[in-house]
Subunit: 413 residues, 2 copies
Amino acid sequence: MEMLVQLGKNAAEAKYELQKLTAERKNQALHAVAQALINQSSLIMKENEKDIARGEEKGMHPGLIDRLRLTSERISGMAEGLKQVADLPDPIGELLETIERPNGLKIEKRRVPMGVIGIIYESRPNVTADAFGLCFKSGNAVILKGGSDAICSNMAITKVIRQALKEEGITENAIQLIESTDREVAKAFMRLKEYVDLLIPRGGAGLIRSVVENSTIPVIETGTGNCHIYVDEFADLKKAVPIIINAKTQRIGVCNACESLVIHEEVKDKLLPSLAAALREHHVEIRGDEKVQQVIECIPATEEDYGTEYLDYIISMKIVSSVEEAIAHVNRYSTRHSEAILTENEENAEKFLDGVDAACVYVNASTRFTDGFEFGFGAEIGISTQKLHARGPMGLRELTSYKYRITGNGQIR
Amino acid sequence: MEMLVQLGKNAAEAKYELQKLTAERKNQALHAVAQALINQSSLIMKENEKDIARGEEKGMHPGLIDRLRLTSERISGMAEGLKQVADLPDPIGELLETIERPNGLKIEKRRVPMGVIGIIYESRPNVTADAFGLCFKSGNAVILKGGSDAICSNMAITKVIRQALKEEGITENAIQLIESTDREVAKAFMRLKEYVDLLIPRGGAGLIRSVVENSTIPVIETGTGNCHIYVDEFADLKKAVPIIINAKTQRIGVCNACESLVIHEEVKDKLLPSLAAALREHHVEIRGDEKVQQVIECIPATEEDYGTEYLDYIISMKIVSSVEEAIAHVNRYSTRHSEAILTENEENAEKFLDGVDAACVYVNASTRFTDGFEFGFGAEIGISTQKLHARGPMGLRELTSYKYRITGNGQIR
């Protein structure tokens, strides 16, 4: 644990240097890091091979092996990502508000970096470079704790980034990787409150739960999406099938995929046969309530189905008799991520937009658009499902805080 | 614990009603509640007497008894506070941003209530009405857990507020009080994540630590203030003594009081004798480092002193030889609340404003101004010392979140 405290101290020291960097220096460093990743790609791939070999030995699923694998194309993709972050506007220093008080005090509210950000992730090794790029551009030091499966890859990527920063004359401690894969170290990291200002977990529900349970550092919860689409009685059914097929099947393992349909009883007879045929064409299993079962063949849906984020070729369906009932159903089972209504009726659209408690509420579009790039943020560190600080897709601004700068000439109370 | 879940469900249901209330209805209800508190003040004082009697029986400190006591004047003050909140602009519904995407999606980012806010407090019973007013005006349901010393007073105030809301045709569950004073219930409350969106502790360091350690609900940490004033080599010493005396002694038990001085060696001989005399006049004990001891008589300061929020008539002093050393010292011991530099040198002022990591950084003014009213927010629920979500004084806006409302016409990815 001494090692962790040392990483914390290093980062807390680095943050004072990083917060002062101009946009120009940060962008130049991001380009240098991008070039270094490409120059050192054979080293990175060699280290990646060790992770692959260990994975194959352990009998890891081929799909996961593929996610783990770094090719020179994927490394170029990482480098390209850093260059794109360099192109984004620098959020730091932005004047958010000015207040002049009757006593002559001038109060400026200015955007500042968060300071030190911790990221715990399970995902692909490219997150190492992506997370660094976003934290660095927003003036933060980052401490990373990746998954054990990718440890050699993560170490190699971190080493290359640190070396490139050093050559740019910037503190290497802008990025530090926790090299231990011990779970107890991960837990101790979640309590490194003295040095870390924000902790972001990226991964499955189990990881996120563990962070929420154990962290004393402020956390942004990301990524659980039990997303609904409600087909209203006034829906344009020609739009409904393509939107539902897109939201369910375009990528099944992502948090903004649709998991459940809520359908107004007035349209069920018209919609369900063609929708069921389209879903079956995409190998999607349907679990419906009794009224759905009366129209199409399907597996009976249980209470549990409505609360499940399948991340799979399965969709649940529920028939309702009003937009109010739909809203109540969605609010009951929603993970507050992304929810959609399909309707041509403005009043019902407004009711749904107002009444549904979620980060992103859609009218007549696929839930798949909840994404930093699709929102035009140019980048994304994750999608927040909590209401504190950031909600929905998080880009550079969401990695910042603010500071009040107050100037007086001797004022006392 | 079933009781807690029921409170959680009540609040989660109430939030949907509260988020829809117009500013006019909320303001009318706040005025009605204010009037009810005044009308029912004899009932409230009668219940308050029970708390006072219990406190006296337990041998509670007379100062604490006084804080606990509700007079008709104090109840009028609570009512006045609610009317002031009614006069503030309603933050809900504010359009924060509009994004139009090339694919035709229209994204609106709008301010919405947080939902359900939990507040755990130890302080005076007036917090019950104050917290309700701020949460209600910002469209939130609130669940309160007050200290056991004030339980009868808190129950009476809550009862009056609920009755007044009912008469206004608004859900009583806008405010609910946890009537148990069991510590285990408090801990269970901190884990009521399914229903509560934000938890704010208001009280001493022990309470705040317990909430940070135990809560799975997102927390805003408030109120610990080890605040410094740095007297720069270019300080106007005529301003220094009044500012320091004000920041240290105007109210000693508050988080924005000054606890420690950092003094440039160039000014120590001129400043310290008159400062020490002024501090002694206000019965303030001085704990100084060796260089301070060479100029004035004082108690030697230990390392521990520099890290202590005294909340008492004590001040620590440290001599430095540069603004950089001052910044490093402040950053080492600061609780990130409020820090001040006294200087007429713009460059040093900028260095301090930029380099010190705190919610509020002052030039030539008392740290006592860190306060929602002094900032012109019209109200305050607390002062955040964390960087996530809100930093410094928190008013109505800091009790809100936002929601993305996205309108399309059939867009898919």
